[in-house]
């Protein structure tokens, strides 16, 4: 089973499910959560958001489609932009001293134009624009565009569109719609899951038999889900079931690659956007670095990942790592994703950064 997505700078960008022009929702077959437990989770989320915004000096709402699985806006806002507009008005009334800025990726700006045929809400809101190149959706990267510093209270004022509508009471926080993606699911669609319910009780119903790697989030930075008894959380928007297991391929390097994507333009896949195959397979074996320079060319924050990796391996001094700006790494994992020698640069760099901070 495939799902539609188009290539982005080295990975995938989900655009909807194949043969599903309109989002399709599946029923939740699992258990219902304990209402008291669910309300406690919701209260905690809302209190956390309110505390953050109160402590901040300005509010930055962001919506950028550069991640591998950004959801179509129509899924969360089927009735147009009314709820976003209401949420913005509520926010202005509730925090009148906070300047509000709205950062939109170029694709989201087009989607907003569809939601607001009469024009975007303008009063008291500054609009900023950003290119949707991966990984622009990571706050660590767009802080430069908005002049935000990583430390201090400005950082607290970040709100995603989900958080905005939740905070202003324009989203029913008792439910979350999760996109079920990947070959491991019987049907690729959205499921409306109750917050606080056991994830496995509903998801297992749609999961095929066999070894699948369940990932919460996207395939580049997502967290593996090893325990399906966990409760459904408000932030869970996408679940992937990727093919797991050592399935060998004959002459994998000689395949034309219509269903495989690559940063290198050697494959025909770029001529065929849409159906792409995702596996947890390394698609090659780990070798010594041969200095192809792909990690350097693709690094969104202009670091030299292979140099940092080398320093990380030999446990380079704190000064040395700082000199080569290890603290600027945003852990987008792009270097590991596209390394032809299949070296896990990102995790070694992250380990070294952790050592450096201690």
């Amino acid at each position: 089973m495939y799902w539609k997505h188009c290539a982005f700078s080295g990975g995938y960008r989900f655009t909807g499910f194949a043969n599903q022009p309109e989002p399709r929702f599946l029923p939740w077959p699992g258990e219902s959560p304990d209402p008291a437990k669910r309300d406690r989770v919701i209260d905690e989320v809302l209190e956390g958001l309110d505390a953050r915004i109160r402590d901040s000096r300005e509010i930055l709402i962001y919506s950028i489609e550069s991640g591998p699985f950004p959801r179509p806006l129509e899924v969360d806002f089927p009735d147009g932009g009314v709820r976003i507009e209401n949420a913005l008005n509520t926010l202005k009334n509730r925090y009148p001293r906070h300047p509000i800025r709205l950062l939109l990726g170029k694709r989201r700006r087009r989607a907003f134009s569809r939601l607001f045929p009469g024009g975007l809400p303008r009063e008291g809101i500054d609009y900023l624009s950003i290119d949707d190149r991966y990984p622009a959706h990571l706050p660590e990267l767009f802080r430069g565009v908005c002049g935000l510093k990583p430390e201090g209270d400005l950082w607290d004022g970040l709100l995603s569109l989900d958080e905005l509508t939740a905070l202003c009471g324009e989203r029913d926080l008792r439910w979350v719609s999760i996109a079920l993606c990947g070959q491991g699911f019987l049907d690729n669609a959205y499921v409306k899951a109750p917050i606080g319910a056991s994830l496995g009780s509903g998801i297992a119903h749609y999961l095929k038999e066999g070894g699948w790697r369940i990932v919460a989030g996207d395939p580049i930075c997502g967290e593996p889900v090893t325990d399906l008894s966990l409760a459904v959380s408000p932030g869970l928007r996408c679940l992937l079931a990727l093919e797991e297991g050592p399935r060998e391929e004959s002459f994998p390097w000689a395949h034309p690659g219509g269903e495989r994507d690559s940063w290198f333009r050697l494959l025909f896949s770029s001529l065929r956007p849409g159906k792409k195959l995702m596996k947890t397979n390394l698609r090659g074996e780990e070798r010594a670095c041969f200095s192809c320079g792909a990690c350097i060319a693709a690094c969104p924050v202009s670091l030299v990942p292979k140099l940092l990796y080398r320093l990380a391996l030999k446990e380079g001094s704190r000064e040395e790592l700082k000199r080569f700006r290890i603290d600027d790494c945003i852990s987008c994992n792009l270097c590991t994703y596209l390394c032809p020698a299949k070296i896990d640069l990102a995790s070694e760099i992250a380990k070294a950064r952790g050592r450096n901070l201690r």
Binding site: G11, R213, P219, I220, C221, G222, P224, L242, E244, P246, R247, E248, E249, S250, F251, P252, W253, A254, G257, R260, D261, S262, W263, F264, R265, L266, M278, K279, T280, N281, L282, R283, G284, E285, E286, R287, A288, F290, S291, C292, G293, I296, A297, V304, K306, E319, K322, R323, F324, R325, N333, T336, Y337, L338, C339, P340, A341, K342, A346, S347
Partner: protein, 325 residues
Amino acid sequence: MMRRIIDKIGNTWYGISRGGAELSGGAPHIRDSVDIKRYMFSVILALLPALIHAGFVFGSRVYLMLLISYLSGGLVELLFAVYRKQPVEEGFLVSGLVYTLSLPASLPLPITALGVIFGTFFGKELFGGTGRNVFNPALVGRMFITLSFPSSFAEAYDALSGATPLSAWGDGQLYSMGELLFAGAPGAVGEVSRILLLFGGLWLCLSRVADWKIPLSYLVSFYLLSLLHSLFAPGLLPPPLYSLASGGLIFGAFFMATDPVTSPECGSSRIFYGISCALFTLLFRAYSSYPEGVMFAVVLSNALAPLFDQLVYALRYPLSRELDT
């Protein structure tokens, strides 16, 4: 010992023919479809049209030379793989092809074999194998036999159907640009099909296998330096455009200088590297007894590659006193 060699050959074939058994340990959960095998294979694909064309021009001897190069280079790789208890890597398939295409077609086969053995042994394996070598192994082997067997090379070039473009210019003749690009001008095996090399090289750059900065800076700076040189010392070099299309310059710029292992790592240092290749090529062509200088220029620039990287790192990441605090 024999059993280990047979096992190694089996493993090599298995490694080439099968793959995809390893899984990603965590995020990123998926990986790019290109691995080193596909990367290397694409260089071979880019050179294949030039090789086939050379087969038409020089006959089946070209393929025999290639076979000898592969067998000799493969043998050295195999012995080192057995010694190091590591798999045989497919780098020798690329360097063997580049090496063969840089030779004159009637070079004696034992010399062909000796060059590739020397290049693989001293140019690659002594440094630790693929990814750790400082010099391009194909060029080390080619340089060794050029300096060791000058008379064999002279005889091989004499056996060509006519003078090579650079020696023809020395005799007061010039080939037309059409002859230079479209296989009218004799030369080494790969040099007779410059237009096919150009297309292959452009494809490598477009597909990001070769970094376009190296061939572009090499060719543009060579053209500009030749132009400048002709103003101050006219008559030492052919006209700039003729120089650009003659000898192994196109082959060298796209397929020798772009070897990722022996070229610098950073984009900006790769521009310095291209300029250095151009400068050395010009100096060798104008002031040495060898009419062709690409091979020496690339090997010398290989030695300078780490220096260019250090220079760029020093400029981009200056040492600061604040770091000590």
